[in-house]
């Protein structure tokens, strides 16, 4: 049955059995489409995620403001649930301290061998300035969080191991990025230097 946004909201608020079953089926289908080809995303995993997502949707129903199709909004919540589960199972045994163990590091060759000598030199200066700034301008907590993120550890897992929340962690690493960028700019590197580096 096709429902408009208001009908979805109203029926789900009343825990209408038909609406719950239809939404669960829709989430299941969309999860299957969105996670196609991912290892571990088998039917039983997807069913668990659809069920968990359904509860999440009911819990956040009053946060839906009708600015998209209801099912698109619900699917976005379901993707967060599903990817959160996938990441958690992959990273649950990795410790933050092992991942970010302190260790002095020479500036690696970010430019690669193909770049012209003057470009290589500038890239090496940039890498050295960045590494120095990571060591000296960030707090230990900022450094740990940022490095763990760069190594792919999920934000939920970093937050859990730091005894923090995902929102607080975002602020921590955002502040760290702002500080590093500010320091590089103060050292004479422009936003363009960063962009052209990233593309190489």
């Amino acid at each position: 049955m096709n429902r408009d946004n208001a009908t979805w909201r109203q029926q789900l608020a009343q825990h209408d059995a038909g609406a719950l079953a239809d939404l669960r089926a829709t989430l299941m289908r969309n999860l299957r489409r969105g996670l196609a080809g991912r290892p571990r995303a088998d039917d039983s995993f997807l069913e668990d995620c659809a069920q968990e997502s359904l509860l999440r949707v009911l819990d956040k129903l009053d946060q839906f403001h009708g600015r998209s199709q209801f099912t698109t909004w619900a699917t976005a919540l379901a993707m967060r649930v599903a990817f959160g589960e996938l990441r958690r199972s992959r990273w649950k045994d990795v410790s933050l301290s092992d991942l970010t163990a302190d260790d002095d590091q020479a500036a690696p060759d970010v430019a690669g061998d193909g770049a012209a000598p003057d470009v290589q030199l500038q890239q090496r200066d940039l890498a050295a300035a960045l590494l120095a700034s990571i060591q000296h301008d960030l707090t230990a907590r900022q450094r740990t969080a940022l490095v763990a993120e760069l190594k792919g550890m999920p934000q939920d897992e970093i937050a859990r191991q730091l005894g923090s929340t995902r929102n607080a962690l975002y602020k921590l690493t955002h502040d760290a990025r702002k500080k590093l960028r500010e320091r590089l700019e103060a050292a004479g590197f422009t936003a363009d230097d960063l962009v052209s580096d990233a593309g190489k």
Binding site: R33, M79, F83, Q105, V110, R177
Partner: protein, 83 residues
């Protein structure tokens, strides 16, 4: 704190995209459905959704979820909601 060249390059790219004011992941999630629909409709990014686009550029996790959402919406459009 050993970073590989790839990780350093990733950080430089992140710094290039960093803005003073950014949405966090929770704020991004609240707007991403609207953003996905407008992108699929081929609309230019509305002012209130530019922050979503910026967050997706700096947050790999939200970007991964957005891409899966997009896949699901495209597939639904092609196959119909009940396939």
């Amino acid at each position: 704190m050993p970073l590989s060249p790839t990780e350093l390059a990733k950080l430089l790219e992140l710094l290039a995209q960093t803005q003073n004011h950014e949405l966090n992941c929770e704020q991004c999630l609240a707007l991403v459905a609207e953003f996905a629909e407008s992108q699929l409709a081929g609309q230019s990014v509305a002012a209130n959704l530019q922050a979503v686009q910026q967050h997706l550029a700096v947050c790999g996790e939200c970007r991964e979820e957005y891409e899966a959402l997009r896949e699901a919406l495209i597939s639904m459009r092609e196959n119909g909601p009940d396939e």
